[in-house]
C-alpha cells in the first residue's frame, strides 16, 4: 500500500512542471469606483520589524510600520518638499539659529490623552539622552536649548545655524510622555505595544507570523479609507510571489524580471495585478580609493567614467528599470541639477585620457602599462546579486580600454571591517541613499576620513569642503539649491565615484486596491496610502469578527 502511494507521489513530482492554470477569478477590476471606507489590505514583508520606537530600531521593516502609527512635527510631501504634519507651521529666526514650531490644536493620542509640545520636548530629551540606545542622536545634540513655551509652541535653539535640522525634525517620530516617562526606553513593552497618534493603531502582533493595524478613531490625520492593514512576514520573495498570484496578499515589492517579463507575459496575472514603478531612494556607484595610485589622478577616474556604459548596466542588471544620475540627488527634486549630464560612453575619450595619464600598451598584450606596471585593480563588493552583475559588466568594458579588473565578493561584516575601515581596497561597488536633505557632509567632506567614518574613499577637495560647510548653515531652500548645484558640478567633474544607476522601486498590487497615483510622484506611490480604498465588491470574503 505505502509503496503505491510513494510511487504516485514521485510521478506527481515529475509531472509538476506541466501543471495547469487555475480557472480565472470572476472579479472585474476595471470600471470606475468611488472611494469608500473599510476593507483589509494584506502585504508581505521580508523582515520582521524589531522595535516600533523608530529612534532605536533603524531597520526598514520597523520604520514602515511605525510610520503608520506615529507622527512627526513636519514631513516631506509628494514632491519631497517640507510640509506641516503635527506642526501647522514653523518659523526660522533671522539669524537662522532658532526654529519655532506651532502645533495644531486639539491633537490627541490614540488613548485619548492630549498631544502637546511637552511630548515633543520629552521625545527630544529621549533621543539626546546618553542612556538611550540610538544611533541617530548626533543631529539632535546640536540643539543648544529646547523648550516648550506653551502647549502648542516648541522652540529649538542651535549654537550655530544648522540646515539639516529641519530634515531631522521631519524624521523624529513624537512619542507619548504620559506613557513613557517612567519607562526604560531601551527595554520597554512600548516597543512592541505602541500608542501613537497617526492613522493606525497596532491590534495584533504574532511573532514570526504577522502584524495587524487598524484605523485609529482618534487619529490626528483624519480617518484613512482602508480599515485594516495586515503585514505577513514571508522571508522568501518567491513564496511572496506565489502568495500574490494566489490572491492571498495584495501587494509586494517585485524584482525587474517579475516586473518586465513574468507578469506581462501571463494574461491571468496582467488581468489582476497593477504594476507601479517609482524612483528608489538609493543609487549604486563605483568608488575609487583616492589614496591609491593611479586613482589619485583625475584623468584616470574620468577615463574610467567614460569607458563605462551606464545604460548597458541599467539594461543588463535592471532590465532598463533604472535611471542614470549625474549628482547624488533624486532626479525630479530641486537638489538635482537638470543641467548636469552623466559621462557619456566614449571609448576613444577614455583611451585619450589614459594615454595622457601615461598609460600605454607597450608590450601589446592588450593591457595598458605605466612605468612597466600593468593597469590592474580589484573591485570589491558585498553579496548582492545586482552589484555582482554590475561588476562583471564593468570588468568587460574596462577590458576594452586595456584595464584588467578582478572581482571579489565578500560578506558584509567582513567587507566593512577588513576592507572599508582599513582602507585596504582599490575600488568598491556600493550604494548610498539619495538623501532627502541635500547635506552630504559626512560622505564628501575631507574631515570625515577616520576609520568608521563615511568618506572612506578619501575624497579631498577644498572647494567642496567650503560648499558643504556653507550648505550646512543656510536654511533658505533657494540659496541652498545654488550651493548644492555647484557642489554637484565639482563632484561630477572630479569623478571620485562613477554614478552607475538609481534603480526603480517596483511594486505589484492587486487591482482591488484603488486610488493610487500613477505615474508616481518623487515621494513614491505610498505618500497617499491613506487615500487608497478597496471597493466593497472587490473585497476578499473576509471573516467577520
Amino acid at each position: 500500500m505505502h509503496i503505491r502511494y510513494l510511487f504516485i507521489l514521485v510521478f506527481l513530482l515529475f509531472g509538476l512542471v506541466a501543471c495547469s492554470d487555475k480557472k480565472e477569478s470572476v472579479n472585474n477590476y476595471e470600471g470606475t469606483f468611488t472611494s469608500e471606507k473599510g476593507g483589509t489590505l494584506i502585504d508581505a514583508m521580508s523582515g520582521e520589524p524589531s522595535n516600533l520606537i523608530s529612534m532605536i530600531a533603524g531597520d526598514s521593516a520597523s520604520s514602515a510600520i511605525s510610520g503608520n502609527i506615529f507622527n512627526k512635527l513636519i514631513k516631506y510631501d509628494k514632491n519631497l518638499e517640507l510640509a506641516p504634519e503635527l506642526a501647522s507651521q514653523w518659523i526660522i529666526s533671522n539669524d537662522q539659529k532658532t526654529i519655532t514650531f506651532y502645533l495644531k490644536k486639539n491633537l490627541k493620542w490614540a488613548d485619548g490623552h492630549d498631544l502637546t509640545s511637552d511630548d515633543v520636548l520629552f521625545t527630544w530629551k529621549l533621543v539626546t539622552d546618553e542612556k538611550t540606545r540610538t544611533p541617530y542622536g548626533s543631529d539632535y545634540k546640536l540643539v543648544d536649548k529646547a523648550e516648550a513655551l506653551d502647549p502648542y509652541t516648541f522652540r529649538v535653539n542651535y549654537k550655530k545655524a544648522y540646515a539639516p535640522a529641519l530634515d531631522s525634525w521631519a524624521s523624529l517620530q513624537i512619542l507619548p510622555k504620559h506613557i513613557l516617562k517612567d519607562e526604560d526606553i531601551n527595554h520597554t513593552f512600548f516597543s512592541r505595544k505602541p500608542t501613537g497618534s497617526s492613522y493606525y493603531k497596532l491590534t495584533q502582533w504574532i511573532n514570526g507570523e504577522k502584524l495587524s493595524l487598524e484605523a485609529s478613531p482618534s487619529s490626528v490625520m483624519g480617518e484613512p479609507n482602508i480599515n485594516q492593514l495586515t503585514s505577513r512576514f514571508i522571508p522568501d520573495t518567491s513564496s511572496q510571489f506565489l502568495e500574490l498570484i494566489a490572491d492571498n496578499i495584495d501587494l509586494m515589492n517585485i524584482n525587474p524580471i517579475q516586473f518586465a517579463r513574468v507578469i506581462p507575459s501571463r494574461p491571468d496575472l496582467k488581468n489582476k495585478l497593477a504594476l507601479y514603478k517609482e524612483l528608489g531612494n538609493s543609487y549604486t556607484y563605483l568608488g575609487f580609493n583616492l589614496k591609491h595610485s593611479p586613482f589619485n589622478d583625475i584623468r584616470v577616474r574620468q577615463a574610467i567614467n567614460y569607458a563605462l556604459d551606464k545604460q548597458e548596466v541599467i539594461d543588463g542588471v535592471l532590465l532598463g528599470l533604472g535611471e542614470p544620475i549625474a549628482s547624488p540627488y533624486k532626479p525630479g527634486t530641486r537638489w538635482s541639477d537638470q543641467n548636469l549630464h552623466p559621462y557619456s560612453y566614449d571609448k576613444n575619450q577614455a583611451l585619450k585620457l589614459l594615454h595622457e595619464a601615461g598609460f600605454n600598451d607597450s608590450n601589446h598584450d592588450g593591457i595598458l602599462e605605466k612605468d612597466g606596471k600593468p593597469f590592474s585593480f580589484e573591485i570589491l563588493t558585498n553579496q548582492n546579486k545586482q552589484r555582482e552583475m554590475t561588476a562583471v559588466l564593468i570588468q568587460r568594458r574596462l577590458k576594452d580600454v586595456g584595464i584588467d579588473v578582478k572581482i571579489r565578493v565578500i560578506e558584509w561584516a567582513s567587507f566593512v571591517n577588513q576592507f572599508i575601515k582599513t582602507g585596504d581596497f582599490d575600488a568598491v561597488i556600493l550604494g548610498w541613499s539619495l538623501s532627502l536633505d541635500p547635506d552630504q557632509y559626512n560622505i564628501w567632506h575631507s574631515s570625515q576620513q577616520k576609520p568608521g567614518q563615511f568618506n572612506f574613499i578619501g575624497y579631498n577637495n577644498k572647494d567642496v569642503d567650503q560648499l558643504l560647510e556653507a550648505g550646512r548653515t543656510e536654511l533658505n531652500p533657494d540659496k541652498r539649491e545654488k550651493i548644492y548645484h555647484a557642489f554637484s558640478k565639482i563632484l561630477l567633474n572630479d569623478s571620485p565615484v562613477v554614478y552607475l544607476y538609481a534603480g526603480y522601486g517596483l511594486t505589484a498590487m492587486n487591482k482591488r486596491i484603488k486610488g493610487i497615483d500613477s505615474p508616481a510622484p518623487p515621494a513614491g506611490i505610498s505618500y497617499n496610502s491613506y487615500e487608497w480604498f478597496i471597493p466593497s465588491t472587490l473585497r476578499r470574503n473576509e471573516i467577520t469578527p
Partner: protein, 339 residues
Amino acid sequence: MLNYLIKRLLWMIPMLIGISLISFFIMHLAPGDITASESSFNPKASEESRQKLRALYNLDKPLMTQYSLWLKRIVKLDFGNSFASHQRPVLWETKDAKGNITRGMIQDALPVTLMINLIGLLIIFALSIFLGVVSAVNQNRWPDRLITIIVFVGFAIPGFWLALLLMYWTGVSHSWLPISGLHSAGFEKMSHIAQYADLLKHLILPVSISSLGGLASISLYVRNGMLDILQQDFITTARAKGLPENKVIYGHALRNTLLPLITIIGLSIPGLIGGSVIGESIFAISGMGKLFFDAVLMRDFPVVMGILTIGSVLTLFGNLIADIGYAWADPRIRRGISN
C-alpha cells in the same frame, strides 16, 4: 550502572565549558559586531554612537572578560537579551512591573521546529524501516531497485526547488493546500478542531520536504543491516524449524536490525532543535534555523551562544541516552558497562 551514569554526567561539565569556550572564540573570530550590520551603514548614524553601543554591550572589553561575564550569567541559567534593537530575552519570556510580557526568542521558535522535526523523524523512521525491509527481502529484484532509485532521487533533489514546485501546484494551480505560514487568516476565531485541521494542512508540505532527504540514509541502513542478519545462522535455524516467513522477518530479523537504530535516534536528538534555513524561509515558518542564521549574520552573540549551548547540552545528553538505550536493549553491551 549508577556509577557509570554519575561519571558520565560529571564529565559533561568540563565538556560543556570547553565547547562553550571554543564556540565563543570562534564566533568572535568572524569580523564585525552588531553595530556593523548593513542598516547601520547610514551617514546619519555616527561612529561615536556606534562606539557607545559597543560599550553598552561590553563589546569593547577583552574577549576573556566578555566570556567570563557570559559564563557567570549562564550558570544561573540567564541566557541574556538579544543585541538586536528589540532586546528580547534569548530564552524565555520576562514580565515587567506592569505585567507586560515579552516573549523569549527561543521560546517562540522552538515549538514549531520541534513539532516539524518530531513528526518528520517519526515519518522518516517508520517509512525507512518499511522501505528497508522490503528492499532487503526483495534484494536485487525490481522493488529493491525502485526503492533505491526513489530514495536517492529524493535525497538529491534540491529541497527548495521541489518546495516551490509543490507550493505552486498545490497552492496556486489548485487551492488544495496553503502556500506558506502556519495559520490561515482568522485562525483565532476557529473552533479547536478546525484549528488543528488548519495547522495540519499547513504542516503537510514543510514536513514532507524536510523528511524526504532523510529517507535515503536510514532506509539503506535498515536494508543493509537486514541483509546481514538474514544471512546469519539463527535465521536459518528459524526457517529450518518451520517458522512462517513473516515471523522470521518481523519477529527475529527486524528486531535485531533495529538495535543500531537506537544510536541513530540518540544522535538525532540535538538535530531536533535545528531547522533548515532555506525550508523555513520558503515556508515562512519562523523556527530555529532562521533564528540562528539571522543571529549569525547580525553578530547577535547572546542568541548565537544561547542556541549553541542548548545544542551542545542536547548533543551530550543524546549520546548518553543512545548509550543507555543500547545497553537496555542489548545484554552484551550491558555486561560490558557493568564490568
